[in-house]
């Protein structure tokens, strides 16, 4: 009797031990998940606040006025009338024109005067020492004329330069400088309109007097957070780059400059 009780209790004990050791998952602690983090918003200091609404309003009004002006000043692109079919030479006219050209080119008299091939002997005969002075005088007149012509050209060019935009090399220099300064925010959605237009007022040394985002209203529009990020990156690039590599002359033409930052090409890869 006692023996069987002992055997029973021993085997029970063994069973309990086996269960305890062979089921270690019982001892497995549940995974402790970190508690929730509460977040509160802090007021942004007055000094560093984002432009106030009234200021933004003024800017928006300014832009609107400018846009209106632009509309009134810049007439819609003129429809240039297509050249009338009358201008196309009629079959009857064509031969006439061809004839004219033939006449111009194959005028034997003129050719004789201008390019007459001569032998060495003939050249000697043609040479007249008395005409040297006249030749010198003529060359003087010609050179004076060319100087005059050159002067005319430079004055015209100057006018053109003042009126025209930047030359290709000037533009390239400026672009290359800003390319190096602009860190494109890589997370932007490339299928959105990613064009930021910034108008700059520049000092003669290329430093920035004032910068203005032309689509400022879009900065605070809901769902346009990426635009704000892009605009800020463009502003950083301008500030980082200044003084900008502007031409040394012609301040009047580039004192106001518009930079169009477009990230699509880069982001599309």
């Amino acid at each position: 009797m006692n023996r069987s009780i002992i055997i029973s209790s021993v085997s029970h004990l063994v069973l309990i031990m086996i269960t305890a050791f062979s089921l270690p998952f019982l001892a497995k602690k549940p995974i402790d998940l970190p508690p929730i983090v509460s977040v509160e918003l802090i007021q942004i200091t007055d000094k560093t606040n984002i432009p106030y609404a009234p200021k933004a309003k003024k800017i928006i009004e300014k832009i609107k006025e400018k846009e209106k002006k632009l509309v009134s000043e810049q007439a819609p692109p003129k429809k240039v009338k297509k050249i009338k079919p009358d201008a196309v030479p009629l079959p009857d006219d064509k031969p006439k024109k061809v004839e004219k050209i033939k006449e111009d080119k194959q005028n034997p008299e003129k050719i004789d005067n201008e390019i007459k091939q001569v032998s060495e002997f003939e050249k000697k005969e043609l040479f007249d020492p008395n005409n040297i002075a006249a030749l010198i005088d003529k060359s003087k007149v010609e050179s004076a004329e060319t100087i005059k012509k050159n002067n005319k050209i430079t004055q015209d060019q100057k006018k053109n330069v003042e009126n025209a935009g930047l030359s290709l090399s000037e533009e390239d220099a400026l672009k290359a400088q800003i390319f190096g300064c602009w860190s494109i925010p890589l997370g932007l959605p490339y299928n959105e309109n990613l064009l930021v237009r910034i108008k700059l007022q520049l000092n003669p040394d290329g430093t920035i007097q004032e910068s203005e985002i032309l689509d400022h209203a879009r900065m605070n529009k809901p769902g346009q957070g990426f635009y704000k990020v892009l605009a800020e990156s463009a502003l950083r690039a301008i500030k980082l780059c200044q003084p900008l590599r502007v031409p040394t002359t012609g301040y009047e033409r580039w004192k106001e400059l518009q930079l169009n930052f477009d990230a699509r090409e880069m982001l599309e890869g």
Partner: protein, 446 residues
Amino acid sequence: MKNLIILFLILIVPTNALGLIEVDITRGNLNPLPIAVSPLSIDDESKKSFEKTLKKKDIGSEISKVIEKNLKTSGLFNPLDKNAFLQAPDIAHLKPRFEDWNLIKAQALITGKVKNVDDKLRVEFRLWDVLAGKEMMALAFTTVPNNWRRVGHIITDKVYERLTGEKGYFDTRIIYVAEDGPKTKRIKKLAIMDQDGANNKFLTLGNELVLTPRFNPTSQMVTYLSYFRNLPRVYLLDIETGIQEVVGDFPGMTFAPRFSPDGKKIIMSFAKDGNSDIYTMDLENRIVEKITNHPSIDTSPSYSPDGKFICFNSDRSGYQQIYVMKSDGSNVKRISFGNGLYGTPVWSPRGDLIAFTKLHKGKFYIGVMRTDGSGERLLTENFYQEAPSWSPNGRVLIFYRETKTDDKGEGFSAKLWSIDLTGYNERLVGTPTDASDPSWSSLLSN
């Protein structure tokens, strides 16, 4: 006559004189943004109390190190050397001297303050635009002290989002299969860690073979495959409670269970009557639905983020290629047409790309392509690598890579690696053991 006058005027008025000179900037640099992460300031009293509870000398400095490391690994930021900082952290947090930060070429600055408030950790931080000289963001967090690493991750997420325009991926976890032992007798356990490799924990004991753990996109739930008595079983594991349940026993070869975007279904492939097709299982009523019905082998299904489409791989063309179909199985289209074999397609959480593994001429590639199959880009090449998984913002991929064994059968290892979409920022993700089959969670703080 009128037209002639207008034409005359156009010719006379120099049009350029009226116009503003415009210059188009269509290129920029992809250099990492120089950023200064100032150590978070802390008062002496709080410092002492946190030193006791957290065994960290300066918890403010530790949090800033977490932020700095996160920003550096993203490849988009270049945290500047702290030794170059001229301004004390507490003063910088009140009003930075922007000239000083400008001097060391910082374009952005992070400052902060840590305080003990009723035995809780209160962290306040500000993000400054150094060039514009203004504050961009200010936030404060309150939590239990043990949560200090998460605070660092959350701050990084906020900074990343503010400066790049897309959500971060730092307050996340990675679940993976931890491997140990010789190649022929591997012990495989389910393990979880923070995205930076910290807080590693094993979730199973290694008695059973575990495969392909996948996170639920909406909650902290994991589905994985495990072999019980040599039969594949699909499990659900709740990370919060640690409770796991068997979704079902499936026949033959079962592969890669994955959640639908709403987390209500599991999609997987298994072989029935010798034919491998794609099935979904509703987790509420456990009804199994057959999605593909083709004599070829269809595997590795993955939903698009809107749940309307499924990408998968199939050998129906003779070679394993990637296909896209509607979620009801209709309108199947092949999208991969390059040389080689394509597998393990995974739809990006952004919805714009599909990541895949490619085998070509004996080499494995991790790549991405658009959802219509265009714009294929191979990001990385190696002896053996596969199973890409997207970060929640769709910018980074994590995958595993195996090394060759030598003649003696030694030298084998499997490690987790990450690479971003540029293909340049490739990094080893540290794990205590060998690792495979990683899966990235959604943001914890969402």
